[in-house]
């Protein structure tokens, strides 16, 4: 403990841990790309599939500047990004608040949890035409669709996360005469955060899918709309470039949320493992 006996106790304790970290796992991820490219290349060289169905990697890669450089790409991309972001923000906020609400009342939980879970079982493709009928082809309808697609993941993880608070901690709050709201905000929500972040990760993916599927069903702009247009003109390499774009969006969302999680749930990511005290922890 003597190394920690300074005001910067946290930093001195944690640094050696970081330096000992070996190869970044992202290198291992990166190493996968050449392998995928190779298999892709070989498959297309053998002409297992017609080039219109599966173009070779070189055709897709050389199409990147053409697709990204086209006049309207920026409009379509920003449209999809705004839909996804707005939908994710809306869906996550509603999911979180509903989770808090149902998490603090067993009556509400019994009354609404089955219905909310049943709603989740309705496929996006079925809701999409309705949403378009109600909101039109514009941004609003797509954002609502993305929100519907992601709310449940955040809702259900919030709800189950709230019950994870350590029993002794609950007793402590109770012994202080804390109100239900105080226990919720000061104990249950922080205890639930690691799980809620799992829900946010899942929700970000489903929000992207929700927005794009809804563009497929009917839209006047967006990457999904653009993809349909390339496909109908048999420009398959360009369509594949857009699929790569979706991958990039998905990975960026993952990295952003992981970054936020490391800051916000700092006690999880920076805590030096203390198996001897584990039972106290969350």
């Amino acid at each position: 403990m003597s190394t920690a006996a300074t005001s910067g106790a946290q930093a001195t304790l944690l640094d050696p841990q970081k330096k000992r970290r070996k190869v970044s796992p992202y290198w291992i991820t990166a190493a996968l790309f050449p392998a995928i490219l190779l298999v892709w290349f070989v498959v297309t060289q053998l002409e297992v599939l017609h080039p219109i169905l599966l173009p070779g990697p070189e055709a897709v890669l050389t199409s990147i500047p053409r697709v990204l450089g086209s006049e309207t790409f920026g409009i379509h991309a920003s449209r999809t990004l705004i839909e996804t972001l707005a939908g994710f923000a809306l869906g996550a906020a509603v999911g979180f608040l509903l989770g808090l609400l149902l998490g603090s009342s067993s009556v509400l939980r019994a009354a609404y949890l089955p219905a909310l879970s049943a709603l989740e079982a309705v496929p996006t493709v079925i809701i999409a035409p309705l949403i378009i009928a109600w909101f039109g082809f514009g941004i609003e309808g797509k954002a609502v669709q993305a929100a519907i697609a992601c709310f449940y993941a955040v809702f259900i993880t919030t709800l189950s996360g709230l019950s994870l608070a350590n029993a002794n901690s609950v007793s402590l709050m109770q012994s202080l005469g804390a109100s239900k709201l105080q226990t919720l905000l000061k104990l249950r929500v922080p205890s639930a955060l690691p799980v809620i972040f799992g829900g946010l990760q899942l929700g970000a993916t489903t929000a992207i899918i929700g927005a794009i599927v809804s563009e497929f069903v009917g839209a006047d702009a967006g990457l999904g709309f653009l993809l349909l247009r390339y496909r109908s003109s048999y420009d398959t390499p360009a369509a594949w470039v857009l699929i790569l774009c979706f991958l990039v969006i998905g990975v960026s969302a993952y990295l952003l949320i992981s970054f936020a999680e490391k800051r916000i749930v700092f006690w999880r990511s920076t805590a030096v493992s203390r198996p001897d005290l584990e039972k106290n922890d969350h």
Binding site: A9, S169, G177, A271, N280
Partner: protein
């Protein structure tokens, strides 16, 4: 039950019973427990594991409702947790997202008081337990003993009249436990609060207490009370004195250990 009107009684349990429903069968944890803690005294609840010590303490703290009986604190019937009671548990129960001093100030926040008015008090308490330099550390950076020290500061921050301590140092090694017990005694006499300590360590009970309430195995009820007349502050030399051993033996006999 003997009513002693000379020294003021802070906590009184009269005919307290507690039944737990576990599945279809009923567990009687306490049956007709009569107990009192006088103002300013250090009382220990001593008894075998499972005899209902924690149950009794949680009832005094308002965390559990008694199935039968009356509980009064300072003459008022107990209905819910009170701010003039502070509880400590076997585990330190530190919130990992709060620094030591933020954990110590938790009761102040919950009570809706101004934290600024208590920062100096928190720092003073941390200094008394030798934790000044760890005020800004997080719980995972502290040893188990240090966490309990911080928990001790937390329970004292709002100056409770009554301390309810459920084997607060039970998870610590013997050296640390002895030091912590000394610190607890010092801080308790300094603050003048009444303390009820749950323990199943006989010599610890004799060393710490003014009186020891010895409880029977389940269903828990009071076997008898041992008066411990030793002067304060208590010094470790006490362990070697024949009078000390006599009281330990007396407690063992009451517990049927002989």
């Amino acid at each position: 039950m003997p009513k002693n009107n000379d020294s003021k009684v802070l906590v009184r349990l009269e005919g307290v019973s507690k039944k737990y429903q576990s599945g279809s069968n009923e567990i009687v944890a306490l049956s007709g427990l009569d107990l009192e803690a006088r103002e300013g005294e250090f009382l220990s609840l001593l008894g075998p594991s499972g005899c209902g010590k924690s149950t009794a303490l949680n009832i005094m703290g308002g965390l559990l409702k008694a199935s039968e009986g009356i509980i009064t604190i300072a003459g008022e019937e107990m209905t819910k947790p009170r701010r003039d009671i502070g509880m400590m548990f076997q585990q330190a129960v530190m919130f990992p997202w709060r620094t030591t001093i933020e954990n110590v100030l938790l009761p102040i926040e919950v009570f809706g008081l101004n934290k600024k008015d208590y920062v100096a008090k928190a720092e003073e308490l941390l200094e008394m337990v030798g934790m000044t330099e760890f005020a800004k550390s997080y719980p995972w950076q502290l040893s188990g003993g240090m966490q309990q020290r911080a928990a001790l500061c937390r329970v004292l921050i709002h100056h409770p009249k009554l301390l309810l301590l459920d084997e607060p140092f039970g998870a610590l090694d013997e050296f640390t436990r002895e030091t912590m017990n000394q610190e607890l005694l010092r801080l308790q006499s300094h603050s003048g609060s009444t303390a009820v300590l749950v323990t199943h360590n006989i010599s610890e009970a004799v060393f710490m207490s003014d009186r020891i309430a010895v409880m029977s195995a389940r269903p828990g009820r009071l076997i008898g009370v041992i008066d411990v007349p030793f002067e304060r502050p208590r010094k470790p030399e006490l362990y070697g004195r024949p009078e000390f051993t006599k009281l330990v033996v007396q407690a063992r006999e009451m517990l049927g250990l002989a």
